[in-house]
């Protein structure tokens, strides 16, 4: 250890021991971000803020919530909502936040797909991001169940039931996940543990990893342009700010993010205070009743697309039952985004609108996901069932076709 001189100020004392100056440079003022970005690049910061809001509001809820099937419902709807000072505020921030965080995750994710930010060199950013998406899904699902409302109970019932379709071990696996033969107190207690401890820990780890994975390949930009970050950074530090293609994370990049954040929070708080019901299924204000099935069972909106892929297969094909086909399609849908970097075989890093074939693929996929989401909530009867089947099939076909489309595109562009 080097010899320490007496510090002239408190700042210096800490700087000698913790390297504050260096830390701030590496993390903030000399962490370079391309200048050529639009507000879609602010989604990462929005997600960080949302995650923080969810953790803080969650901690307050945790102080009064009771993970017991006889007390859970009233602890949320009476104790927290009506007796605890501003308990309703934390509950609404948490519930609305849980829904809105998925909206932002989807925007973040499709921004990545649109601009090709998952491509060569940035695979780990994409994979860690998809890992975060899966963890958030597990977190959302486990948390949705905790207030022990009627829809959350039955959604939990249906979703845990899915694992029963896995060959050989299915039946035992369902019992193991539930901790009982049906969704019961044991299920609630373990989902509580998952929601407040295990999954948040994993999310924190994955967030750190996601940030780290950005450091070497750097953030993509609006034009998909490759340039030398070191060279551009030197220009910036030498004072040629206007010609440099990069800006530091602090204060330049963040100033834009704060501005986007401000308007986002306006939208968010509007929902929290005046339109929270969109994120709270009215059926969940009935206490869970294992003897009374709701007329329609559907998950929260952010799972509707994959739910529809699951149930879209309502008839047997080539001797395989609709249920098994649905399960296979569901597994495919949830895993396929993870391998996007290898499905897209065109080396071109460009926004979708500059890619001759991919642009059609991208908008078709978005349209298909919207159809799946909307029909995922409607009763699967009559024409709805066929639309659901068509959209599920389209989803599979789109992803199976992607390597061929992008290969053809690479050839076309390369031939120019």
């Amino acid at each position: 250890m080097a010899e320490f001189k007496p510090a002239g100020s408190m700042y210096e004392w800490f700087d000698q021991r913790l390297g504050i100056d260096k830390f701030v440079k590496v993390m903030m003022t000399e962490y370079w971000i391309p200048k050529n970005i639009n507000f879609l690049w602010a989604m990462g910061v929005l997600l960080t803020v949302m995650f923080t809001l969810l953790v803080v509001s969650g901690i307050f809820l945790l102080m009064y919530y009771k993970p017991d099937i006889n007390m859970a419902f009233d602890s949320v709807n009476y104790t927290i909502m009506q007796e605890v000072a501003y308990g309703w505020l934390f509950r609404h921030i948490h519930a609305v936040g849980a829904s809105v965080v998925f909206l932002i995750i989807y925007i973040h994710m499709f921004t990545g797909i649109y601009y090709g930010s998952y491509k060569k060199g940035r695979e780990m950013i994409w994979i860690s991001g998809m890992l975060l998406f899966m963890l958030f899904s597990a977190e959302g699902f486990s948390g949705y169940m905790l207030p022990w409302g009627q829809m959350s109970y039955w959604a939990a019932y249906v979703i845990t039931e899915i694992f029963g379709g896995i060959p050989l071990i299915g039946g035992d696996l369902v019992v193991w996940i539930r901790g009982n033969f049906y969704v019961a107190d044991a299920t609630l207690t373990r989902f509580f543990m998952l929601h407040v401890l295990l999954i948040p820990l994993a999310i924190l780890g994955a967030i750190v990893f996601h940030f780290y994975s950005l450091r070497f390949p750097h953030v993509n930009n609006e034009a998909g342009e490759f340039f030398d970050f070191d060279e551009e950074a030197e220009k910036y530090l030498a004072g040629d700010k206007k010609n440099s293609k990069v800006v530091p994370f602090w204060p330049v990049f963040l100033s834009k993010d704060f501005f986007v954040l401000g308007f986002f929070l306006l939208f968010f708080f509007y929902l929290v205070f005046f339109h929270y019901s969109f994120a709270m299924d009215p059926i969940n204000f009935d206490k869970a009743d294992g003897l009374k099935t709701p007329a329609h069972i559907y998950p929260e909106w952010y799972f509707l697309w994959s739910y529809e892929v699951l149930r879209g297969w309502f008839f047997e094909i080539a001797g395989i039952s609709g249920k098994s086909l649905g399960l296979i399609a569901f597994g495919f849908a949830n895993a396929i985004f993870l391998v996007m970097p290898w499905l897209d075989r065109s080396p071109m890093v460009k926004p979708a609108n500059q890619r001759p074939y991919f642009k059609y693929w991208f908008w078709l996929m978005i349209a298909d996901l919207m159809v799946l989401t909307e029909f995922g909530k409607l009763p699967p009867t009559g024409p709805n069932a066929w639309v659901g089947f068509g959209a599920s099939l389209t989803f599979l076909v789109l992803f199976i076709a992607l390597p061929f489309i992008t290969k053809a595109e690479a050839k076309k562009v390369g031939g120019k």
Partner: protein, 292 residues
């Protein structure tokens, strides 16, 4: 500008998706029903334009009603405790003190004439069926006599202060014999086991019904339960429009007690956030003017 174009595209996509999964899906799963009818047009056995005679009504009520019903406010206390009354009749007969205030006049008159038809419970108590409704029809009375009874019941109704007091009184008189309101620490006056046997299932606790069913649904449902829940044991109670609004207001007071605080706080938070957003925009402009 390009960023506005991107924002517009995102807003359009989110808006279309939202429309599909919220208002549209709701309209498919909960089709619109006939609007609430507070004139009770289908009940027309009694000519309710006749002016009632309170004195004669008093005589009729004392001869016909108080053997079963209490009218606490007119000096007729209940003749037996709730548990015994429930054992005898299946359900505690209502105290009629509030009847003149909370029930629609037309409904009340037709109820006395023929309770089962007025309540839309013909499916539960068919003519000549095994079970009979505990209260007999008074269709042997002349319309004038029935209107005298109605006039008497209206005359004994206690004065209740508008607002919270009225909301609570109406809820307890109209719903409280069968339904509990746990979050108001209120238990149904008919004992649990008795009401379960009488109705076929325990009537739900209504603490969160303002949220789980919503004002719009309650508005149609309370007026005529059969419209939304065909075959339900819940009778058409026959509340006047005002009484029904009081019931719904009470359900909101109990089930969503922080509504006023939420809306007031919401406004301040929105103003604060708006100022933050403006300042953030100005700061961003200043910072980015150096790099562009």
């Amino acid at each position: 500008m390009k960023e506005f174009k991107i924002l517009a595209v995102i807003m359009a996509l989110v808006g279309i998706t939202y429309y599909g999964i919220e208002p549209y899906a709701h309209s498919v799963m909960h089709p619109e029903v006939a609007p609430a009818d507070f004139t009770f047009k289908d009940a027309k056995n009694v000519d309710t334009t006749l002016a009632g005679n309170v004195e004669n009504g008093k005589t009729l009520v004392e001869a016909n009603c108080i053997a079963c019903h209490a009218i606490e406010k007119a000096g007729h206390p209940a003749i037996m405790p709730n548990a015994d009354a429930a054992a005898s009749y299946g359900v505690v007969p209502p105290d009629l003190s509030q009847a003149g205030r909370i029930y629609d006049k037309n409904y009340l008159a037709n109820f006395i004439f023929d309770p089962v038809t007025a309540m839309h419970l013909e499916h539960k108590y068919p003519v000549g069926g095994a079970k009979a409704f505990p209260m007999p029809s008074y269709n042997w009375m002349t319309p004038q006599e029935i209107m005298d009874v109605v006039a008497y019941l209206q005359s004994v109704t206690p004065k209740v202060a508008e607002g919270k007091e009225a909301n609570k009184a109406t809820f307890e008189a109209a719903c409280g014999r069968c339904h509990s309101m746990a979050y108001a620490k209120f238990d149904a006056t008919t004992p649990k086991d008795a009401i379960k046997t009488y109705m076929g299932a325990t009537p739900p606790d209504l603490s969160q019904y303002i949220k789980s069913r919503g004002e719009h649904y309650l508005h149609s449902f309370i007026n005529d339960p059969q419209v939304l829940l065909k075959g339900t044991s819940m009778p058409r109670v026959g509340l006047s429009e005002k009484a029904q609004e009081e019931v719904i207001a009470y359900m909101e007071e109990i089930g969503d007690s922080k509504k006023a605080e939420r809306e007031a706080t919401g406004l301040y938070v929105m103003i604060y956030t708006f100022i933050f957003a403006i300042l953030a925009y100005l700061w961003k402009r200043k910072i980015w003017s150096e790099v562009h």
